[in-house]
């Protein structure tokens, strides 16, 4: 069991059978897996970052393009190319972070991490790509795939179940130590 797991497990009185002191304020959840609200906030932060970069780059590109008198026939092609670049940027953003540290910037702010459900390691590149596609699938029909988080024992969404990943709380090392000292 990793240190995270040990720490989180110790947070539950049932886990060690002793009456441990609770944090002030008491922890809202003893589950080591991240819930829907936290994941939604992390996703919102990531969307903001992705969109901010995309809009900034798009604006710069538009200003640059306005300096060249492209023909009207070329404009749909440029728009399509821009859309592809934006899609690649968005996909690359998530795949890169999921497959390297397991934490996108939004995940890091919310202190959660995407990891393999079996060994706790970050996803491989291919599985990260598949998870992204699965996430699109989960969002297709009114985000029903995400609502599975509320009923799953390990708080997994549809794409987590399909890929075999989980999202866990991952407090920063300093904060982990601080919480341990508070006990």
């Amino acid at each position: 069991m990793s240190s995270d797991a040990a720490h989180l497990g110790a947070a539950s009185p049932a886990a060690n059978g002793t009456a441990t002191r609770t944090l002030e304020p008491p922890p809202p959840s003893t589950s080591p897996y991240s819930g829907l609200a936290t994941r939604a906030l992390a996703g919102a932060i990531d969307v903001l970052i992705v969109q901010a970069v995309a809009w900034t780059v798009g604006a710069v590109a538009a200003v640059a393009a306005s300096m060249f008198n492209f023909s009207e026939d070329l404009q749909p092609i440029l728009i399509a190319a821009g859309t592809v670049v934006a899609a690649l940027w968005t996909a690359g953003y998530f795949v890169f972070f999921w497959s390297t540290t397991g934490q996108t910037p939004g995940d890091r702010v919310m202190e959660i991490r995407v990891q393999d459900a079996t060994d706790g390691r970050p996803l491989h590149f291919a599985r990260a790509v598949l998870r992204l596609l699965g996430a699109l699938l989960s969002a297709l029909i009114l985000f029903l795939g995400y609502l599975l988080i509320l009923v799953d024992g390990r708080r997994r969404a549809l794409h987590d179940r399909l890929i075999g990943s989980v999202v866990v709380y991952a407090p920063a090392p300093g904060r982990r130590r601080e919480r341990r000292l508070t006990r």
């Binding site: 989180l8 304020p25 080591p32 991240s34 819930g35 609200a37 936290t38 079996t118 009923v151 390990r154």
Partner: protein, 261 residues
Amino acid sequence: MLTGAVRLAFAPLSAAVGVGRWARDVTLDLAGDAALSALDALLASPRADEAADRILASPLAEHAVARALSGELVDVFAREAVRYAVLERLADELLAGDALDRALDRAATHGVPQRIADRLLEDGLAEQLAQRFLDGPELERMVALVLESERVDAALVSALESADMERLITRILESRLIEETVTRLVDETAARLPESQALWALVDEVAQSPAVTDAITQQGLGLADEVAGEVRDRSRAADAWLERATRRVLRRRTTPEPFVP
């Protein structure tokens, strides 16, 4: 035998000489007594004062005094006065008796100290004394002596610890004068500070110092971290609340699965 004969021959002569000596001594004594009696009578005479006055008022007396003072008499007098410690003895007598006090009283009565002070002040002696006092090492020595004095130290401590001093300081601090002075100083300082180039230079220097920028950065990061921590705590509470609400709606009990790293 011859010697005895000679002695016998000169005996009458020797007796005559002895009688002569006696007669001379007696005569001299009588003459001396007579002279002294005459002098006493002369001094006791009412004419003596007038005679003395006339002598002293005469050009002869002036001439004699002038001759005496211009000659070696003064030197001799001074030498002998020093030799026999005349001045010291005179000073002792003056200090032992009340003559000095009487002299000082008379001088004070006639305003002598005031005149002396006026003359000294007119001549600039006071300024010279003050300048000399400030330039010389005496002032420093005096200040050092005062500061090192245990009595002064004890007096200061006693004065500072006394209730009177506390009341005095309290009254001073609560007085209108202090309040008005402080208010005026603050107002003037506040009015002049923005005009001071040195102040803005100092503010720029402080604002650009690494310590201040680091502190501001740390404070900003700390605030952001605090806000993020609050959001995290609330989102975790929301996670649990949503989960519980869903279970209540669905009337389904979800068994938490163990954590598998």
